[in-house]
């Protein structure tokens, strides 16, 4: 089985977000970048599938050279090789077009990625890649098993879940609890240094969306504290002051 896993390079979930250059750039000072958490679930399931029935796992990232430590971590977790499309991701459409360009001749049985990146929360890449490659796409996938030439997946729907079947090849946007995250061991970390990481040039695309400036939400006022012996006071404030009851 040949699996392509697309990973994003995003600030750690604990990062405090701020902006620089007159609110036109993310302030990366002190920010640790990681594999997108949803993407890491996809990667972990891909490694499990490879360990179960053989095959290869290739990771793909659209990013400039500073994303290579993140890609090496994916190799340390167990991917066999990596491709970096040498371009700063402009928006989800741009990223999807780069993924489709890499994947179109790759004969992958499945293309896995997270349901969304945790920076721009676009949640669009799997569907666009599916359309560009004329492949079925399923998201958000919380369970994925292979039975012969088809995949059986559980997809989360609002208030429940669906079981779906689809023939390979297909694309899936993944989320927990599809697999347990894998911690790279020393052997994995050492071997990751020598695994192939191929850098390819981006394909030309139409510039459809650009991000012009950023802003933070307004600062919250002070929390109004209510004595634990007077919960009815809270109800009164929610009704008459906040007007949410």
């Amino acid at each position: 089985m040949k699996i392509l896993v697309c990973i994003s390079h995003v600030p750690d979930t604990t990062s405090k977000i701020s902006f620089t250059d007159n609110d036109t750039k993310l302030n990366t000072s002190g920010v640790q970048f990681i594999i997108g958490p949803y993407d890491e679930y996809a990667l972990s399931r891909a490694i499990e599938l490879k360990e179960g029935s053989g095959g290869t796992v290739t990771v793909l990232n659209v990013g400039e050279a500073d994303t290579e430590p993140t890609i090496r971590k994916a190799l340390a977790i167990g991917a066999d090789d990596a491709i970096r499309v040498n371009a700063a991701p402009k928006d989800g459409y741009f990223v999807a077009q780069q993924i489709a360009a890499v994947a179109k001749d790759g004969n992958y049985d499945m293309i896995l990625m997270g349901r969304e990146s945790i920076d721009y929360n676009g949640g669009m890449v799997h569907a666009i890649v599916g359309e560009l490659l004329n492949l079925p796409s399923v998201s958000p996938v919380m369970k994925l098993d292979v039975e012969g030439n088809k995949a059986v997946m559980n997809r989360e729907i609002e208030g429940g879940k669906e079981t779906v079947e689809v023939e390979m090849p297909f694309i899936a946007g993944c989320q927990e609890p599809i697999a347990e995250w894998k911690i790279p061991n020393m052997r994995g970390i050492m071997s990751a240094r020598t695994k192939p990481l191929n850098v390819v040039d981006p394909v030309g695309t139409d510039d459809v969306v650009s991000f012009t400036s950023y802003e933070l939400p307004p600062t919250k006022g002070e929390c109004k504290m209510i004595d634990a012996s007077e919960p009815e006071k809270l109800v009164e404030l929610l009704k008459n002051e906040a007007k949410v009851l």
Binding site: R115, N121, M124, A127, E131, E158, T163, P231, E232, L238
Partner: protein, 321 residues
């Protein structure tokens, strides 16, 4: 610039978030001096099919083919694209949802349109088309400029109020060609908690954390939620421990919510949890630890043991209602 808005149904009713999207479309149409066409798919009662008219759509296209009763991204994206062509729409809108995530990208790719998801405000259309969207799971916003002729937007829940205009729409049957090739994903089973209020659609959400000490104590959360007519959620550790199902996990890597009122019981407020709830209008935190970081993000707080405070709070809510 004609506008098409997709209106999503769930369990025989149009979703509140979709009515917000229709109101958003109506407000945008007013700014652009154009009309709104709404699209409804699958079997729904007539009054629900017509509902978009009350919120500002002048035409409702109803694609009632039984094949569309099962909502799936690929066929739905085909129908939306066909409807956009029929309506001559340059702008396609829909409410942000799990379904929207699986089809908005396909619609954008079919139309070669720029797509902006999680939109929180009406676009500025003076000198370009700029729209504000939520990023970093509500920790920030970005202004996105859509440069393509056609545009697709998904509107965040509770970002724009649903308001009736008193209008009425002409309902037209819409029968696009449905090629079997778009039904490649076969649904073999559906498990849905019927009767529960959808977490993502709820006006009030009550969530529990590890302070509840175990799943056997969840009646505290459920009783308060029932008294308030609220949906229930939980923190990530709680779903990781299998006390509650994953679809109740609220947070950065779970469900993002934006209710009018969010009540956190026994949740300390890790930054990842806050990211999933910080778009809520009012946040109430009840925790016995006065140093819990959640109090910094809350509007109202009670320092106390949830096992003492919550039953009294539930009784106070019942007394009010």
């Amino acid at each position: 610039m004609a506008i098409l808005v997709y209106v999503e149904g769930s369990e025989g009713e149009i979703k509140k978030s979709s009515l917000e999207a229709v109101s958003y479309a109506a407000a945008l149409a007013k700014n652009l001096n154009t009309d709104v066409t709404a699209l409804v798919m699958g079997s729904l009662p007539a009054d629900q099919v017509e509902l978009a008219g009350k919120y500002g759509a002048s035409v409702v296209l109803h694609a009632s083919d039984a094949k569309l009763d099962q909502a799936q991204g690929e066929p739905y994206a085909s129908v939306i694209t066909a409807a956009a062509e029929k309506a001559g729409a340059d702008i396609v809108l829909m409410a942000k949802s799990s379904l929207a995530d699986s089809m908005a990208g396909r619609v954008a790719a079919k139309l070669k349109a720029g797509l902006v998801t999680n939109v929180v405000d009406l676009p500025s259309t003076d000198g370009g088309f700029k729209v504000k969207k939520s990023i970093f799971t509500g920790k920030a916003f970005v202004h996105a400029e859509v440069k393509s002729d056609k545009k697709v937007l998904t509107v965040s829940k509770n970002a724009f109020p649903a308001s009736e205009t008193g209008g009425q729409a002409n309902v037209e049957t819409f029968e696009p060609q449905l090629d079997d090739s778009v039904f490649r994903v076969k649904v073999t089973n559906t498990e849905k908690a019927s009767g529960d209020i959808l977490l993502t659609e709820a006006d009030i959400v009550v969530s529990g954390g590890r302070g509840l000490k175990g799943p056997e104590n969840w009646n505290l959360v459920e009783d308060l939620a029932k008294a308030l007519g609220a949906a229930t959620g939980c923190s990530k550790p709680v779903s990781d421990l299998d006390w509650r199902p994953h679809h109740e996990h609220v947070g950065q890597t779970g469900v993002k919510v934006a209710p009018n009122l969010y009540i956190a019981l026994g949740i300390s407020g890790a930054i990842q949890h806050l990211a999933g709830v910080n778009s809520s209008k009012v946040i109430v935190v009840i925790n016995k630890d006065p140093e819990a970081p959640f109090f910094k993000a809350a509007d109202y707080g009670i320092v106390g043991d949830v096992f003492d405070v919550v039953p009294k709070l539930t009784e106070a809510v019942k007394a009010l209602r």
